[in-house]
């Protein structure tokens, strides 16, 4: 019955169909708007921020812990208040957003590339190397990412690069598993057999036939991974294991404001937290709708 109804197929081109289905959810559109806004804020951060919070020369300890809307010594208004170092919170958040997003996107992209390549290789070639890789993936997946990242950072010490490294190390296995299962499922389909029968080269079959059809779940996972990485980085930084104090990400800003929260100086923790939440929420809303739209059972 469903097949009969599906036979009333529309004549839309795939991308338009995708866009229309994506726009079905107002929540997803809200997420997309949010995400665009956050990305713009991070990109334009240095030109928007009234202050460079990493330049110690611009900080004045006399401006410390001013409530939102206070006038700073340098003459501008700190709309979101200032922290104990005399840093304008808005500037701190704009710069912190750059680090949080940068770490999240870089680690997810690297993990995605490594994981996809290995996952495809494993699905296509088999053999004992593939078996060993999958064992490693299984082993790693049976331990929570957070714990693995925690231990890696405990060993490596703080630093932006170390955080990225730790996140790549924990995330590649998710991508590898997703890529492998997608590739295994697609591989069994007859169009791959047909391509082999047409004596096309392995490279061509892998990159023109197999990979594009494995992409939908990878895009969804990749999106969610960015959000996860941002949250993980923030958590690790909050615990004092992530980025160094000289380059505070949102997580570190929240952590340094934490001690003043109990005395009612909420803005140092709350505002960076809201920025963090909006970034993660935007990505997740988009990713969630992508999952529905790209699902082979319901989607294009």
């Amino acid at each position: 019955m469903s097949a009969a109804l599906a036979a009333t197929a529309d004549d839309e081109a795939p991308f338009r169909r995708f866009a229309r289905r994506f726009a079905d959810s107002k929540l997803a559109l809200l997420g997309l708007a949010l995400l665009t806004l956050i990305l713009l804020a991070a990109l334009l951060g240095p030109s928007l921020a009234p202050q460079n919070p990493y330049d110690l020369a611009q900080l004045d300890i006399m401006d410390g812990r001013l409530p939102p809307g206070s006038r700073m010594g340098a003459g501008f208004t700190a709309w979101l208040g200032s922290d104990d170092q005399g840093r304008d919170m808005l500037s701190g958040i704009l710069y912190g957003l750059r680090i949080s997003l940068g770490v999240g996107i870089a680690s997810a992209a690297a993990a995605g590339l490594i994981g996809t390549a290995l996952g495809l290789l494993v699905a296509w070639r088999g053999g004992w190397v593939a078996g060993a890789i999958m064992r490693l993936v299984d082993l790693q997946l049976s331990f929570p990412a957070f714990l693995v990242a925690l231990m890696v950072l405990a060993l490596l010490g703080r630093g932006v690069l170390n955080v990225v490294l730790a996140l790549v190390l924990v995330e590649w296995s998710y991508c590898a598993r997703t890529a492998r299962s997608a590739a295994l499922a697609e591989r069994r389909r007859e169009y791959i057999e047909a391509a082999e029968g047409l004596a096309l080269s392995t490279r061509r079959i892998l990159f023109r036939h197999l990979l594009p059809n494995c992409l939908p779940p990878l895009i969804v996972i990749g999106t969610m991974q960015v959000a996860r990485a941002i949250a993980l980085e923030a958590t690790l930084s909050f615990l004092g294991l992530g980025v160094p104090v000289t380059e505070p990400s949102l997580g570190l800003l929240i952590a340094s404001g934490y001690q003043y929260m109990l005395s009612g100086q909420y803005w140092m923790s709350v505002y960076p937290g809201i920025a963090l939440l909006l970034a993660i929420l935007g990505i997740n809303l988009v990713g969630d709708q992508l999952r529905d739209v790209l699902n082979p059972r319901t989607g294009t």
Binding site: M1, A3, A4, L5, A7, T8, D10
Partner: protein, 332 residues
Amino acid sequence: MQALPAAATAPILEVRDLRTHFFMRAGVVPAVDGVSFGVAPGEVLGLVGESGSGKTVTGFSVMRLVEPPGRIVGGKILFRGRDLAQLSERAMRDLRGNRIAMVFQDPMTTLNPVLRIDTQLIEAVRAHGRTSRRAARARAVEAMAMVGIPQPEERLSAYPHQFSGGMRQRIAIAIALLHRPELIIADEPTTALDVTIQAQILAEVQRLAREHGTALLWITHDLSVVAGLADRVAVMYAGRIVESGAVDRVLDHPRHPYTSGLIESVPSRNRRGARLRQIPGMTPNLLALPRGCAFRTRCPHAADACAAEPRLTETAPGQMVRCFYPERVTAA
């Protein structure tokens, strides 16, 4: 609209002008659009059609198991004179599996994979009337034996995946037979099975229907199965019945060009190695049906008059045809 002349006895099921539509984003799909037929006790009615013809939706409509976005939007489904279309869900549930039973197409998916066979049989026994677990179990064993499952006692505690497709379909039939229903709706129950297994299932069904006097609505795309099994046949195209009548009459003297086309395209009706007679064009898109007769774009006899809607007319005793030019169709 009286569709079919009364059979020897009063029909057990009489469907009148049934309409079931699917409300999709792209528009309303009239999957079943004014279908009428009747089935008498002990009679086998074959409902034949290709994919998208609405035959399956018709079966589910009678069971009132059409799911959204589908909805019965009109017509009467008279079962022993009671209109099922108007029945409360509660009352309908008392009929389902009790007086009207259904067998599905794919035996691999009709049994719940995580529940044991005995659970699935016993719950069906106990859904209608108070029965002790022990008595229900005895009934289950009896039903399994009836459909020819060896060692039913032991096999009851197995899970569906431990049975072959043919055996699973027997179990589904056993479940359908538990309460000696007056009507069984069978939706392509042998399509997914191999030839030798199909023959076994057909033999069982035929024997059981004869022994119990059960009426059978047999939905299929396979004219050959209908030829061997059914007393009467109704052919569906694009949500409507285009021809119906006694099997011999319809298969030997089809009067609708679609019926005739279907019969003629069966390979055994053609000289071996010769070009098969074929129906041109494609199975229609239900969202964009041609006005008037839905078949006219593929019909060799179509004329201007076909832009209007043809009615079912009786061309021979018991043979109803929805065509303006039934005389143009001659048996090959």
